[in-house]
Symmetry: C2
Subunit: 425 residues, 2 copies
């Protein structure tokens, strides 16, 4: 029965039982971590072939005959561009490859706008006021990049169809100080939402007042399905070309959660104008990315089919973890009216909304029982969740047994925090 319908006395009894249960967990001296979307050791072993890929001398040349060990090729290997292009649905000619971090490439895109501006507009460093739209809950590292560069961050609510497009269209129409928006369009971090066809169409048709408005389309989970009924995301690049808005879009992806988080290959895709601008920035800062690592990936993955086959291996490891979390939430707090959560078809996160004002308390309770979660508030700009209700679960890293222990503590903490709140109401 929902906690809200319990009498004070009933609630006190529940609270006492939960407190005892919680003390039991504390006595176990657990040390478990569900804080970040890190692949597990088992997943990392799926890609060991990447490290075996470079053996014979003849393999060091790419298709152009360049020696991948030496300087050169600022935008990466053509063969690896092809794989990226197929992952995110763009022509290979629109792809630029970097080193191991797509976040770094996003940072560079913002950094370039800050120092030099885009599309002939005033560099962002020269503006007194500049804003960036942040669908919430969202990814803390995205928000941090634009906070670092002095943008005012504007919360945009996330729905089951994606961000609130009515609000976005209204805001950008007249305010040319709004310079862009962060998006994780497929299996969004943390809500797991994939943007609806209509949402994608409206993004591609967006006509902002700012001529240098950029959609930061972080397609981090483009091939990261976890079910037999995966979500599908409309191809925004094609739609942008149809609308003549391709200068507005930067698409990002990486193999961080395909091969290795620390040693994968990142890339971006965008329009010819943006490539020209980005090229100037990149060529000033480096002679080129690590092409040997790209070659390793090419030799191991071969093509998009190799990527898809590998992702089946990841799914086999990840899916049971997601199902376990969902099952335990359902069983433990399903009918108590103290939490809601999503059941994503892919990606790396489960987003749990607890009672307003309880998220920090739940995270604290978990911590004091040896279970580290993502900080409450982290999914919002400036770390401030206005309702203090959202918690991001990252089930990928712990082995199943540990995950089960962690989820026991988490479910108990949700209930304990809710009972506390209702008793003090």
């Amino acid at each position: 029965m929902a906690y809200a319908n319990l009498s004070k006395a009933e609630l006190q009894k529940v609270f006492d039982e939960l407190s005892a249960e919680y003390k039991g967990y504390q006595a176990k001296n657990l040390s478990l971590n569900m804080a970040r979307g890190k692949p597990s050791a088992k997943q990392l072993e799926l890609a060991l072939g990447v490290l075996e890929a470079l053996k014979a001398r003849s393999e060091f040349a790419n298709s152009n005959g360049d020696d991948c060990r030496n300087y050169g090729l600022w935008d990466g290997l053509p063969e690896m561009k092809r794989i990226f292009a197929d992952m995110v649905g763009v022509p290979a000619s629109q792809v630029i490859l970097g080193n191991n971090s797509s976040l770094m490439m996003m940072f560079e895109v913002i950094s370039r706008g800050f120092s030099h501006g885009y599309n002939g507009c005033t560099p962002w460093c020269k503006l007194d006021k500049k804003k960036f739209l942040c669908p919430v809950p969202g990814y803390d590292r995205h928000f941090a990049v634009t906070e670092y560069y002095g943008f005012e961050l504007i919360n945009i609510p996330m729905y089951a169809t994606g961000p609130d497009m009515d609000l976005i269209e209204k805001l950008v129409k007249d305010d040319d100080s709004i310079k862009g928006i962060w998006c994780v369009p497929k299996y969004s971090n943390p809500t797991g939402v994939t943007y609806s066809d209509e949402t994608v169409r409206r993004f591609a048709a967006l006509k902002p007042a700012a001529k240098d408005f950029k959609i930061m389309w972080d397609n981090a989970y483009c091939v990261h399905d976890l079910t037999d009924t995966p979500d599908t995301l409309l191809n925004i690049y094609d739609l942008c070309v149809e609308n003549g808005t391709e200068d507005q879009i930067f698409i990002f992806a990486s193999t961080s959660k395909i091969s290795f988080p620390g040693a994968g290959v990142a890339g971006l895709a965008t329009s010819d104008n943006n490539i020209r601008d980005f090229k100037e920035h990149t060529l000033t800062s480096t002679i080129g990315p690590d092409k040997l690592n790209q070659l390793r990936h090419v030799l191991f993955l071969h093509d998009i089919n190799g990527v898809r086959a590998l992702m089946k291996g990841h799914r086999a490891i990840l899916e049971p973890k997601f199902r376990l979390c969902e099952l335990m939430l359902e069983e433990n707090v399903g009918d108590l009216g103290v939490a809601e959560w999503n059941k994503p078809n892919g990606g790396y996160f489960i987003s749990v909304d607890v009672l307003d004002g309880c998220a920090k308390r739940v995270v604290q309770l978990c911590k004091e029982a040896g279970v580290i979660l993502t900080d409450a508030g982290a999914t919002f700009p400036y770390g401030k969740d206005p309702h203090d209700s959202n918690i991001r679960l990252a089930p990928s890293f712990p082995p199943l047994e540990e995950l089960e222990q962690a989820m026991e503590v988490f479910c108990c903490s949700i209930k304990l925090a809710a009972a506390e709140k209702l008793l003090n109401a």
Copy 2:
């Protein structure tokens, strides 16, 4: 006999003979490249062990037990820091490791000053006027970074002892718009000069008006000796600590010319204050560098002794190329009064000064005979050599036979351009 002492008729005869010789080279349809300081294929083979280093599962953990395949460790592996620290002579605690490009780390240092400022000073993007000192001839990619960020670049003459310290001390004393200086203190690019002890001491003792003045100490050739009598460079970090000026220095190095130019490991060393600032920038832009590549290098190089042993292999390949260039210059233009050059004890370049107004012509003549050199002027800010006399030779990449052919064309072109000039005088 020196061309300057020849009669017009004698000079015309020389010119006619040189023109015929030059036409002979043109008829060979050569395609040779001495433009960039790229290691040769033979050198790249010295480090193939790097690629074999990661085999067994147990090797993926670093000394802290972290899995190098996963996220984490923003400043790199402790073991690799140790090797860097020994290469440049700093405590390992002062080292931050990056990906494959030290140029990228220099760019980031400047970029951070541009967006956020150092030591509590106004960010450089907010300044109407900002200047950077550039010892000339120097490295084009250094100059390009500060040009990109809108600095006015000031030429500083290079002497046999390093940059003109009298001029530097005079300039920085009163002008707080001068924010830093580019230095290649050992086997300088392209002059091969190693800064004298006095020069290093004066750098460490520099008291600029700008509190955010930064010495960009690119120790790119710290272990790149080519003779039995290598140059020695005083340890500037120790001297800075003695002088209390350690916030003024950023020291850079990489394994680009130790292991692989495209797939090495780069690093910087600096003060605790600078590390704190740089950390904020780096942690906002990436979760960390490619640690697997660092681990590869650690397993292959082991320690500074492994680096030194490897560098002997590089010397064995490079030294004959440098000697060949020097010999051919001596034999072909040694007593003609049309060129001067250095004989470096290490590094990657020979700097040739031809007659004033002849450098562009020499590079053009070489190009039209199928020999690509570094663009004349490239060793100066904005690509403008005020005397049009400096040419940078990069002997490392071509095999010896090709180098000999290229040097024949180069020597002939020096003489031809000189004779042309004197005939038209």
